[in-house]
């Protein structure tokens, strides 16, 4: 019995010794060819980085970046020097100190230096940290297109109520100026018409400053692009007029661009206009002359046309147009 135990003891010793040897040897070499990803296949669909960008419609210096990368989960944007990313247009900065971001999309990136070409880099990484990279030139351009306002019934072919009427006529005639068949022999686009077109007429009774309560005015509100700190926006008002030769010298049609929209005629008259054009050549009925007058838009972009006459003979105006200065 003791013999047996001894034998067992020897065997166990041998086994233990062998095991110990095996352990010493094994850790490094025995499992060398048995790593955890045995049997896995290489990742052949690697990240491809790509992005697009859209300028902010209000502020051209702000750009929204949309990530269009494939096969990726992590991102690193590098916008370069002098560029700031904001949480919103509120000025709270969300980019890292080196103008980098790990967001998927970055919605408000401000290129304060203004117009120019900027290199933006996007690195897209997948879970294995395989990466794809793209560098794109981002073009910052101020492609400001001024609003081209539409003057309703500017060719004077239709009746003037409501197109040329101010709401509250307290203090002046409740009527708009007369429609007339003696308008300019030109179409609205400036091409010659076969004959006379319809126009607007200021008759003597509607154009006498001594009788303010009977004076007739034409009014129309317009919206133009505002002048801002970034830019000055200039417009042109253009019209054609004719005054009978027999009129007293100094007779005129006055066209004003008012600073704002008005409900009441008295407020419109009292306001300081952005510009005023006094047309006073007495060339005779039917002999229309074109006048162009430039003005700078105000901060609100809300302006209005205000027309009056001061004449003892019929005066005519036609084809009123407002457009951005070319």
């Amino acid at each position: 019995m003791k013999q047996k135990l001894n034998a067992l003891k020897n065997t166990m010793g041998l086994v233990l010794a062998l095991l110990a040897i095996t352990f010493v040897v094994s850790c490094e070499e025995a499992f060398e060819f048995d790593l955890p990803d045995t049997g896995s296949i290489p990742d052949l669909t690697l990240p491809e980085a790509n992005f697009s960008y859209t300028p902010n419609p209000v502020d051209f210096k702000i750009v929204s970046f949309t990530n269009e990368s494939n096969e990726s989960t992590k991102y690193k944007w590098d916008f370069g020097e002098g560029v700031v990313c904001e949480e919103d247009t509120n000025g709270v900065i969300v980019c890292g100190t080196e103008n980098t971001s790990t967001e998927t999309d970055v919605a408000f990136v401000r290129f304060d230096a203004g117009e120019g070409d900027y290199e933006v880099t996007l690195t897209a990484l997948d879970a294995n940290d395989a990466s794809g990279i793209i560098k794109q030139i981002v073009e910052i351009r101020d492609v400001f297109v001024p609003i081209n306002p539409i003057v309703i019934n500017g060719d004077m072919e239709e009746g003037f109520n409501p197109s040329w009427k101010i709401d509250d006529t307290t203090g002046i005639s409740k009527d708009t100026p007369n429609t007339s068949s003696d308008g300019a022999p030109f179409l609205y686009d400036g091409t010659p018409a076969p004959g006379k077109t319809r126009g607007m007429k200021f008759s003597a009774s509607a154009s006498n400053p001594a009788n303010q309560g009977s004076r007739r005015y034409a009014y129309q509100a317009l919206t133009v692009s505002p002048t801002t700190a970034d830019r000055t926006v200039k417009y042109v008002i253009e019209y054609m007029y004719a005054i009978k030769v027999a009129a007293t010298p100094g007779s005129n049609i006055t066209v004003q661009i008012l600073d704002g929209h008005f409900d009441a005629a008295l407020d419109a008259i009292a306001s300081a206009p952005l510009t005023e054009s006094v047309a006073s050549e007495l060339n005779g009925k039917g002999n229309f002359v074109t006048v162009k007058k430039e003005f700078t838009s105000n901060e609100s972009g809300l302006v209005s046309i205000w027309i009056s006459g001061e004449t003892d003979q019929d005066a005519y105006i036609d084809n009123i147009n407002v457009y951005p200065k070319p």
């Binding site: 669909t45 790509n50 697009s52 990530n67 269009e68 990368s69 494939n70 998927t104 539409i150």
Partner: protein, 504 residues
């Protein structure tokens, strides 16, 4: 001798064998049971016509009420409203559960079963069209060009839907796989390479031009010349480089032809089937499980009538647009049901037969068999063509004021009980708004937004709104959601060839 005696019988018997067996070739080489029988099937004009009708069958789709399994049954056009209206700002799902509720929240993933089905259905149409083009010569000589044109029309329509929903502008990723002949299963390069968007559009244009040249206006439920002209006009407006002149000419050809007109009563457009306004419809038959549809009950009913309810719920910002610009279209397009304090706004275009929504607005009823509805689905109607005419004249400039444009625009407005355009100048915003209320719930809105180039801006704004009642914001929206993911099943089958859209 005894054997010789019988030899004459033997000879007779042998002769018989020889006579019977003279077609040795077929006898020794029988057609296996698993062989493709198509080669033998199309023998006559009637066979080819059956094949053509089979393409429409793929477009029509299988009613969910007939086969409820979500896999392996092509729904055809029946899920389209989920992929289009739900992803626009028009409608949403009432619930957040299930894959049908993913679209309106912009969380559709590559495993979405409805998107996968639609993708598969459109390629089923393409496969059937490609297949019949191989056998069209078996038809009567006088019909060959017509049948060919019909198959090409349907193929083009399927590609047009696919490229708009799945096709990327980025040529490194590509539009959609462009297969124009029956492909063998080992032609992986052909089946899974996404052709550039411009190439897909070129194929669509060529197919539709063929349809315009060879079809007449005999049908509304099958391809016609006018339908091909109208859809080609939309293709011209949608393609990467729009062809405005071409679109204008096509719309004017339809208008001058005079075969179509606006219905006086807007309600008749939807409930007087095959009326003069509709130009191409997908027909369904009420009560017939194999020829009916189950989707309009899903998106019209206030109390569950379809397999799933609470779909195509009208968004508040669409109601605002209807209130200001709907005219008499509003009452036809949607209705408010249920508790006045917690109302439910439901679509009322395409109500199933037997519906009564007027007797008790708190509890409308939907007839005996709403899940087997027979309402035809309108793909193209004349009002759409009139508004495309305005769009073509506008030609990307942002406004239109020609007499022709105003005539088309005002015809649509006047029918709705609205006055002419106030200032005589139609702006892009006005046109988009008019299309929105005129064609609401007809799966046009998303494509309109994309075509006008305002989809991202409008949906950005829509998904950020938090003041609309019972709509929360959709923070998952981003510009990548404008494209659906290529279904992952296709990616897996492609052995790495098919590229996924960004963000999925």
């Amino acid at each position: 001798m005894k054997y010789l005696k019988n030899i004459k019988y033997l000879i007779i018997a042998l002769t018989g064998v020889i006579f019977i067996s003279c077609d040795v070739d077929e006898f020794l080489n029988p057609l296996p049971d698993t062989a493709i029988a198509a080669d033998g099937f199309f023998q006559s004009d009637a066979d080819v016509l059956a094949g053509i009708i089979g393409i429409y069958d793929a477009l029509q789709g299988v009613n969910e009420n007939t086969e409820s399994s979500n896999s392996n049954y092509n729904r055809g056009v029946q899920f389209e409203f989920l992929l289009t209206e739900h992803r626009s700002d028009n409608t949403r799902s009432a619930t957040l559960e299930g894959s049908r509720a993913d679209f309106h929240r912009y969380v559709t993933d590559a495993n979405n079963i409805q998107s996968e089905d639609y993708y598969q259905s459109m390629y089923e149409i393409i496969f059937r069209a490609n297949n019949i083009l191989n056998y069209v010569d078996a038809a009567d000589a006088s019909n060959i060009s017509k049948y060919t044109a019909e198959a090409k029309f349907l193929r083009a329509y399927a590609y047009f839907n696919l490229v708009r929903l799945y096709g990327s502008d980025n040529d490194a990723i590509g539009g959609v796989p462009l297969v124009t002949a029956v492909a063998e299963s080992n032609e992986d390069e052909l089946l899974f390479t996404r052709a550039p968007k411009a190439a897909v559009y070129a194929q669509i244009v060529s197919d539709l031009q063929d349809a315009v040249a060879n079809l007449d206006n005999s049908y509304k439920a099958r391809a016609s010349k006018a339908a091909a002209q109208g859809i080609l006009a939309k293709v011209y407006l949608s393609q990467p480089t729009p062809n405005y002149t071409g679109a204008k000419d096509l719309c004017e050809a339809i208008i001058v032809d005079g075969s179509f007109s606006l219905q006086t009563d807007f309600n008749d457009v939807f409930y007087n089937e095959l009326n003069n306004e509709v130009m191409f419809v997908i027909r369904y038959e009420f009560g017939n499980p194999n020829e009916s549809q189950g989707f309009t009950a899903e998106f019209t009913s206030f109390k569950r009538q379809g397999r799933q309810d609470g779909l195509n719920i009208v968004n508040p910002n669409l109601v605002e647009d209807f209130t200001l610009n709907g005219g008499n279209r509003t009452a036809v397009s949607y209705a408010v049901f249920g508790d006045p304090l917690d109302p439910s706004i439901e679509v009322t275009k395409f109500l199933p037969e037997g519906t009564d929504i007027t007797t008790d607005p708190a509890a409308p009823t939907y007839g005996a068999n709403p899940r087997d509805a027979g309402n035809d689905w309108i793909v193209l109607r004349y009002a759409d063509v009139l508004l495309m005419h305005v769009e073509a004249i506008m030609a990307g400039t942002g406004n239109a004021n020609t007499p022709a444009a105003l005539s088309s625009f005002n015809a649509v407005r006047n029918r709705a009980g609205l006055a002419n355009d106030a200032d005589g100048i139609i702006t892009q915003e006005e046109l988009l708004l008019e299309r929105r209320v005129e064609l609401a719930f007809e799966n046009q809105r998303l494509f309109d937004l994309l075509r006008f180039g305002v989809a991202d801006a409008v949906l950005q704004d829509h998904s950020a709104r938090d003041n609309d009642e019972d709509i929360t914001v959709y923070p998952s929206y981003n510009a990548r959601a404008l494209l659906l993911p290529i279904p992952s099943r296709e990616i897996n089958l492609s052995k790495g060839l098919l590229k996924q859209n960004p963000g999925y």
